[in-house]
């Protein structure tokens, strides 16, 4: 039954997103994750104008699908209707990654302790999302699990707290770590396998306009059975790895080179091999406590 279309404006860190949809279950899920991001004043300048809708036709009844529209255009194939929320999240990430070249975009999790930022760059599977999630459950302020957004001229890390997609067994790992972790619905079949999102905490959301200064650069690597090992990383190697890890390093050219070089210069650089999430988090929290201001908020 088609309901009236809802028209919401959400804060997503430096971006404002208009989301329109009449899909009640999608709107429910969106509310669960982003109630604190909805703007009630208005009108707002829109960075991304997104609509989540059901295509017309017979499929509506047989195998319902969902369409992601940006500026009324459809860059993707329709997705199964039950994946509306992951489709929205993925689509918004695509919009940001392909257009926000105003910023240096690190492919990295990022968490702040006060105003000091910890950057966790990593390839898919390195565990950066899981680590970012766990750190925020212990009072770290979530900047992003995926985008280290940096203003190249000031090197500020921007916050963009969003649902953290936990892939496959990561959601169990997080529940084991914190049984009260606020997780959304499970999506058994997405392009990335089984996904369940962690809701960003209220404090991170409330402070999403607050920037952070890069202080630690930690390259995580999940290795089953390994003992946690935080080892200093040579700065030239850190530069190479961070540069290769940007979404738009080549695109920004010299601007990116200078920004990455300065980030590496001003941060303590480590590689971090880990297997046990609780110990890994303690170790990274210790690092933050020892060399930076205390984490905001109290551990839960």
């Amino acid at each position: 039954m088609p309901l009236a279309e809802q028209n919401l404006t959400l804060d997503a860190g430096p971006f404002q997103v208009r989301v329109r949809s009449s899909d009640p279950s999608f709107l429910d899920t969106l509310g669960f994750f982003y109630r604190g991001c909805v703007r009630h004043d208005g009108p707002h300048f829109v960075d991304f104008d997104i609509r989540i809708k059901r295509p017309r036709g017979l499929r509506r009844w047989l195998q319902p699908q969902v369409l992601f529209e940006i500026d009324a255009l459809r860059p993707f194939e329709p997705q199964p209707a039950e994946n509306a929320f992951p489709t929205y999240e993925w689509g918004l990430n695509w919009c940001i990654a392909t257009s926000a070249h105003r910023y240096l975009m690190l492919h990295a999790g990022s968490v702040a302790f006060g105003d000091a930022g910890m950057i966790l760059p990593g390839h898919p599977g390195s565990g950066k999302s899981t680590l970012s999630a766990a750190l925020t459950l212990r009072g770290g302020r979530l900047l992003s699990d995926e985008f280290g957004l940096v203003r190249p001229e000031s090197l500020e890390l921007l916050a963009m707290p969003r649902g953290i997609p936990l892939k496959n067994t990561s959601s169990e790992a997080i529940l084991e770590f914190d049984s009260a972790a606020p997780l959304g619905p499970t999506y058994p079949k997405t392009r990335k396998g089984r996904v369940r999102h962690l809701r960003p905490d209220a404090l991170s959301v409330a402070q999403q306009q607050r920037t952070a200064t890069p202080r630690w650069l930690v390259f995580p690597r999940y290795l089953a059975g390994a003992t946690e090992n935080l080892a200093p990383l040579d700065k030239s190697e850190a530069f190479r790895q961070l540069a290769f890890n940007c979404f738009n390093y080549k695109l920004l050219g010299e601007t990116a080179f200078r920004a990455v070089a300065q980030i590496v210069r001003q941060t303590q650089c480590f590689t971090f091999t880990y297997s046990r999430l609780d110990r890994a988090v303690v170790q990274l929290m210790d690092l933050a406590q020892a060399t930076g201001p205390a984490a905001h908020g109290s551990p839960r």
Binding site: F45, R74, S99
Partner: protein, 365 residues
């Protein structure tokens, strides 16, 4: 008249804009690939202070991307020129990359997705093979029919891309398909072409100014169902004004060239569209002479309506725009091929399965 058009004609209008106006303007400018052009216009008129800062961020982001693609295009051109020089085949660059090499006004903001080159017809297969030996390959799967379509009917060979790079290389031997309504004697283009010293010490040829404008018009109104859209009309207007400022006799030159090459009709469409939409203001004498190339009045009116639906929709995603695009698609085939050939082509295309618009790439999320 949509907000983008209003802005391109009179940038100071942004003083009056509220939030909702900006929200309608940005998608139009983005979709027309004119964000960079808009940023320049705002800077030129000292209006940047009026623009909300988050939108300035978007405009700058788009220009950063354009700068990058421009560098990629010039590098690709350098690779291609190296191969063609070795084969003694003269490369003549077209469209976006020609503006870039020659430092013409659009090069300050214009994005591009491929590099277009003209080579003599007798050399085109040799050029294709030489590039093939150096790592370029067809950019897609072209079956036997596609090969036949390109090689026997079109003015280009199937697009190439180097296996280690991303920018497409289109080799042409003419500006319009040999089977189309417009027949251009390529020898005349070569005779008037200019030698240009580009970046990286490259020496390439470009079309003469008048031919460059005629190519823009042919490409937009005869070859490609207006796919270049408003961006190409902006190019036309900017280049027209630039060349006229350099040479007071440019209008007459352009008319003479349109007659000599037999492409008065596309010139008529380009001039009238640039006038209707962007306020191009040539001399009355020039307009009167261009009017001679117009089609019969009902056809001219229909085209004008179609062009407006496609290039100046009030917003994106209107059903009217889609319908106009359908008609233009049919028309573009009609002017490109004789009826019998068109029939066979369409039947073949109908039988072939439709490809997905975009496969989900491995991006974040």
């Amino acid at each position: 008249m949509n907000l983008l058009i209003q802005f391109l004609r009179r940038p100071a209008i942004v003083h009056k804009w509220g939030v909702e106006d900006w929200n309608r303007f940005m998608p139009l400018a983005r979709n027309a690939r004119l964000l960079g052009r808009c940023l320049y216009l705002l800077e030129q008129h000292d209006l940047l202070g009026v623009v909300p800062s988050r939108l300035v961020d978007q405009l700058r982001g788009a220009l950063n991307q354009t700068r990058y693609v421009q560098v990629q295009a010039l590098r690709e051109l350098r690779h291609v020129v190296r191969v063609l020089d070795r084969e003694d085949i003269p490369p003549l660059v077209l469209k976006g990359v020609a503006y870039l090499v020659s430092g013409l006004p659009p090069s300050r903001w214009r994005n591009l997705s491929d590099i277009d080159l003209l080579v003599p017809k007798d050399d085109i297969v040799r050029a294709e093979q030489a590039l093939g030996r150096d790592g370029w390959q067809p950019s897609g799967d072209f079956d036997a029919y596609d090969q036949h379509y390109y090689r026997d009917w079109m003015h280009e060979v199937p697009p190439l891309v180097h296996r280690q790079r991303e920018i497409e290389v289109d080799l042409h031997h003419n500006l319009a398909p040999p089977v189309s309504r417009i027949q251009i004697n390529a020898a005349k283009l070569w005779a008037d072409s200019l030698l240009v010293s580009g970046p990286y010490g490259m020496v390439v040829r470009t079309l003469a100014p008048a031919d460059m404008l005629l190519h823009n018009a042919i490409h937009l109104f005869m070859n490609d169902e207006l796919r270049g859209g408003l961006r190409d009309v902006v190019d036309f207007r900017d280049l027209f004004e630039h060349f006229l400022a350099q040479d007071a006799a440019f209008e007459q030159l352009l008319l003479g060239r349109a007659r000599a090459l037999g492409c008065g009709r596309p010139l008529y469409y380009a001039v009238s569209t640039a006038r209707d939409l962007l306020g191009l203001a040539p001399s009355a004498a020039f307009l009167a002479e261009v009017e001679v190339f117009a089609p019969a009045a009902p056809q001219a009116r229909l085209m004008r309506w179609l062009i407006e639906q496609v290039m100046a929709p009030a917003r994106l995603g209107l059903r009217r725009t889609a319908a106009a695009n359908q008609l233009l698609f049919v028309r573009s085939h009609w002017v490109r091929m004789p009826p019998g050939m068109l029939f066979r082509h369409l039947v073949h295309k109908m039988v072939k399965a439709k490809k997905p618009a975009l496969s989900a790439a491995d991006l974040p999320g």
